[in-house]
Symmetry: none
Subunit: 158 residues, 2 copies
DNA sequence: CTTGTTATTGCAATCGTTCGCAACAGCGGC
DNA sequence: GCCGCTGTTGCGAACGATTGCAATAACAAG
């Protein structure tokens, strides 16, 4: 493959994500390590383009589609997840940390996260009143977000 | 504009959605009426392409981008909403209608209703903490119902 | 009805993402 | 080390969705 000098990162420094990939029988390529490193370096969310911007200076030849494919692979392996944000940008984040809950705006499509602790009391209540074990990890709450509420006070025209 | 004969639909038959649009100060064009008609004709969800397929035979010149823009307009006007399905397709539906909450069992498919009063505190909490006006009427809560819980004390985890 | 203003449309370019395919490289076997 | 199988990559074309812009039509006013 491309033989650029790798910014020093011996096998010893291989991350958990890399290890998981190998254990699942995938090949560990240079591109994948680079992309994984970028994902791991970030708190919260990161877009494909963010990764590309970060990787490109050091690895001019790493292709965009490889980033897309690697992220998809990591998601299938359960190592990362993604969300769609209001401006249409897709952002990725490390998995783990359990299922987070999303608030999705019906108007602008903005997607934000919701602490599970906010939702947990509802699960308890439903369990007590109906004997129903709710799986709250997998539904989205829709509604109207703060900024659209403000904008929506007076109808907008162009 | 294009002067195709309109498939007979006088002002008297103008829909609620059309009325709402006009009341909000938007112009009522033939294209918008056609698109609105298509949305109203459908129970449940419809994709942009569904609309295009349905409209195109009668209105060869109605442009795809007009459909996109009209749906976006209708959503901002609060008349329709959209969801992203797991296959990536975006689908649209009429907004409004009743606030009903359902509990759906993942095992047996049983569907029961949930008092809104159980859910209301969550809406308040979300409003206070995130400034987000949750529309809890349109999400289903999945999980495992009482009888399946009893039957299946041992069965599957994940 | 005619006119003027301006929102709306059609078109083509564009954006972010996916896909098909030939070239290539990781990894296990020699 | 070298070889070969096959998973992976880079490239470019294609896809759904969006946007800029000039032409056009809706609506109000005369």
């Amino acid at each position: 493959m491309l033989s650029y000098p790798q910014p020093d990162m011996g096998p010893a420094s291989l991350s958990k994500l890399s290890d998981s990939l190998r254990e699942q029988g995938y090949r560990l390529t240079l591109q994948r390590e680079i992309i994984i490193e970028a994902v791991e370096a970030v708190e919260g969310h990161i877009s494909v383009d963010d990764i590309y911007q970060q990787v490109h200076p050091r690895f001019p030849q790493v292709n965009l589609s490889t980033i897309y494919r690697t992220l998809e692979l990591l998601e299938q392996a359960g190592l990362v997840g993604h969300s769609h944000f209001h401006d249409g940008v897709t952002k990725w984040h490390r998995a783990g940390e359990g299922h987070h809950q999303h608030l999705i705006c019906e108007r602008c499509g903005a997607e934000s996260e919701l602490e599970l602790s906010v939702v947990a009391p509802l699960a308890t209540e439903i369990r007590e009143r109906y004997g129903f074990a709710a799986n709250l990890g997998h539904f989205a709450i829709t509604g109207i977000c703060q900024s659209c509420l403000r904008k929506g006070e007076q109808p907008h025209h162009h």
